[in-house]
């Protein structure tokens, strides 16, 4: 039997707004994915190394403090440096549309902002992420 998609929901930086991250973690679990939630206040280094150690297929980053422009690309970069570019990275939170391009160019696969339904995020994962 094929194993389940493994997702790590992570909160990089000092931001403590975790309502969205925790709702998503629960939603992913209910959708049948395996979920690891890091809790708040993780450095990009901690997130990248935990993602590799846990052998996840996807990292979902949540940031509402405005520091996403530094934090999201940093996680992608660290994964790449450690030979784990097969782990996809998506992000969400308070992300102005004008920053989307910068994040896509940095290797973030998709950006989810307020108003997206849980279902549509789960659908996106099913369509775009496969078990490595």
């Amino acid at each position: 039997m094929e194993r389940k998609i493994r997702i790590m929901v992570a909160k990089p930086g000092l931001d403590g707004h975790d309502r969205g991250a925790r709702i998503l973690a629960r939603c992913f679990r209910d959708a049948g994915f395996e979920v690891i939630y890091t809790g708040c206040h993780q450095t990009p280094e901690q997130i990248a190394s935990a993602a590799i150690q846990e052998d996840v297929d996807l990292v979902g980053l949540s940031c509402l403090s405005g520091a996403h422009k530094y934090l999201f690309p940093k996680v992608v970069e660290l994964l790449k440096e450690q030979g784990a570019e097969d782990i996809a990275v998506i992000g969400g939170g308070i992300i102005p549309e004008q920053d989307f391009d910068l994040l896509y160019k940095a290797g973030v696969k998709e950006v989810f902002t307020p108003g997206r339904s849980l279902e549509s995020i789960v659908d996106w994962i099913r369509e775009n992420i496969s078990v490595q």
Binding site: V9, K11, G13, L14, D15, G16, H17, D18, R19, A21, R22, I23, A25, R26, C27, V35, Y37, T38, G39, C40, H41, T43, S65, G66, A67, K69, Y70, L71, I94, P96, Q98, T113, P114, G115, S117, L118, E119
Partner: protein
């Protein structure tokens, strides 16, 4: 009994008649939906009648403003003596920039200041800390040393304006800076007034800005309460906050219950640790609530809050001073009720929420700006938000009379229900051994997570509506100008921090930090040592590192 028997008899007969009619009509045409409930999913009846409040006792449960149980407000004069304080929460980029915004707000008629700090400051780190990368000035003002702080309050008359500071783990440090700044400006500690949020329990429960474990965190709060009681009598040393609990997704009842139980914990701890009499410090405890979009639920929550607190203070803690029975609170409209979609609709939401806060009898109010769901507020958006309060105060007539919804069958009944449900939670937490112990069990955190998930599911299914998000979704994007914090600020702030570090007397810094460490180890009140350290230009992080070393660090257990 609240009503004479003949009125109740008539009411019962007429209600029966009405019920029969409703039954006939709804059999013909069904209601739009089966179940009607508040935004917190508390079920609401189609009609409330005298029977719903027949068991109330006027003197015991209602009374008049300024009298126990303060259901109708603390002030006998209501808003006629003065309106609530128009207090807009603001902070952005550097101290200089924030100071400029403060002067603009005061010029436009704001009556109190309220400070938002950036995440490094909130978490007790300096701008140049590796963990603070990318965060400087983003969510508020960056403060590293007393020099920044002096720039922040430049030109502000500290003996006339009250200032609220939303700061939690490093509350002792920022308050020490305020005290030091006052001293340098020649204003005595007995003349300054304001609030530090300083409510760590809700951080573990909801906002997640933490540093040390719960017990030493509560100890530091008791230190500030003691210091304030003795030396800074006009200061509110803790603002017991439901706001963040609600923003994290709680129901209104949970917000009410967890906030008041946090308050109980602080009162118990201060009596136990400091040997103070409850009446010495209770009058300076203040509260902070959210005003969400469900109009009546919010009004009832605030009315219930005052009555529950008065009963707790009188009956549980045997407080004798009527001021100890008062619940004074600030309110902020609900950030989480705003939408990134069709952002101009947020002006309407905020106006409704602000009106609820006023009808609920708030003492102080922040109204969110329409763009706060996207970025820090622009000057134009802040102005609309401030004007919203001024319109409510001076145009709508809402402030003419005190507690105008009292006596409504529905409002009184919902107030009673919320009090009952909140008291059930409070008892449950008492049974767990108090809030610190409940937090260690993850109880309030998981109750909130359940409620937040439930609400999100309701939104996804369309059972609850957010206009522009899951109903009346527009095709066109309405673009509003966004405020962006310049990334260069981090570099500038780091440079100025380094300059301060070069010019200060290193020996004095080390000495004052060592004295602070000794005070922490020996269980002394940290405040005098903290004030000494900030005067010697010790940084926020240097002081917080002392706390981390002595008390240990708390890490998010990551419950979901």
């Amino acid at each position: 009994m609240y009503f004479p028997k003949d009125l109740l008899d008539k009411s019962k007969a007429l209600t029966k008649k009405w019920e029969d009619q409703v039954k006939r009509l709804t059999q013909k045409n069904a209601d739009q939906k089966q179940r009607w409930s508040t935004v917190s999913d508390l079920e609401i009846k189609r009609l409330y009648t005298p029977e719903d409040i027949e068991h109330m006792d006027f003197e015991r449960d209602v009374s008049v403003p300024g009298e126990f149980p303060f259901l109708r407000g603390n002030q006998p004069t209501g808003y006629r003596g003065r309106y609530w304080t128009f207090r807009m929460f603001s902070g952005m980029g550097t101290a200089k920039e924030t100071n400029k915004r403060w002067h603009m707000l005061l010029k436009e008629g704001q009556t109190g200041l309220s400070t938002a700090f950036d995440f490094p400051t909130l978490m007790g780190y300096d701008t140049d800390s590796p963990i603070a990368r990318g965060e400087c000035g983003k969510c508020g003002v960056a403060i590293d040393t007393l020099e920044d702080f002096l720039q922040l309050v430049d030109g502000i008359p500290l003996d006339q304006i009250t200032t609220s500071m939303t700061i939690n783990p490093p509350a002792t440090v920022l308050w020490a800076m305020y005290c030091a700044a006052a001293e340098l400006k020649g204003v005595g500690l007995d003349k300054i007034g304001g609030t530090i949020q300083n409510d760590m329990l809700k951080e573990f429960i909801a906002q997640k800005t933490f540093m040390c474990p719960p017990e030493p965190s509560v100890k530091l709060i008791c230190d500030t309460i003691e210091f304030g009681t003795k030396f800074v009598p006009r200061w509110n040393t803790v603002s017991i906050s439901g706001y963040h609990i609600r923003e994290a997704g709680s129901t209104a009842v949970q917000e009410l219950a967890f906030t008041l139980r946090d308050g109980v914990e602080y009162v118990e701890s201060t009596i136990k640790q400091k040997g103070l009499d409850v009446d010495d410090f209770a009058p300076r405890l203040s509260f902070f609530f959210n005003s969400h979009i469900d109009f009546f639920e919010e009004i009832c929550k605030m009315r219930a809050a005052r009555r529950i607190w008065a009963r707790i203070m009188r009956d549980r803690f045997k407080a004798k001073n009527p001021r100890s029975w008062w619940m004074r609170f600030h309110t902020q409209t609900a950030g989480c009720s705003l939408t990134a979609q069709q952002p101009y609709n947020n002006v309407v939401r905020t106006a409704v929420e602000a009106l609820a806060a006023v009808l609920g009898g708030t003492q102080s109010l922040h109204t969110n700006s329409l763009d706060e769901v996207l970025c820090l507020p622009s000057e134009h958006a802040v102005e609309i938000a401030l004007r919203t309060q001024q319109i409510i105060a001076e145009e709508t007539g809402a402030a003419n009379t005190i507690d105008p919804l009292a006596g409504s069958y529905f409002v009184e009944s919902l107030t009673n229900t919320m009090e009952e449900k909140a008291c059930e939670y409070i008892e449950k937490i008492d049974d767990m051994g108090g809030m610190v112990s409940a937090i260690e069990k993850g109880f309030p955190q998981m109750e909130i997570a359940d409620a937040a998930y439930h609400y999100q599911r309701q939104i996804d299914r369309g059972e609850k509506v957010m206009v522009g998000v899951n109903k009346y979704v527009g095709e066109e994007k309405s673009l509003i100008p966004l405020v962006e914090i310049d990334e260069k600020i981090e570099e500038e702030q780091t440079k100025s921090l380094q300059a301060v570090k070069r010019k200060r007397n290193g020996k004095l810094v080390v000495e004052s930090l060592n004295s602070l460490k000794k005070a922490c180890r020996e269980g002394e009140n940290v405040m005098p040592y903290c004030i000494e350290a900030v005067k010697n230009l010790a940084t926020v992080q240097e002081i917080c590192d002392v706390y981390r070393e002595v008390y240990g660090e708390y890490h998010d257990p990551g419950l979901f």
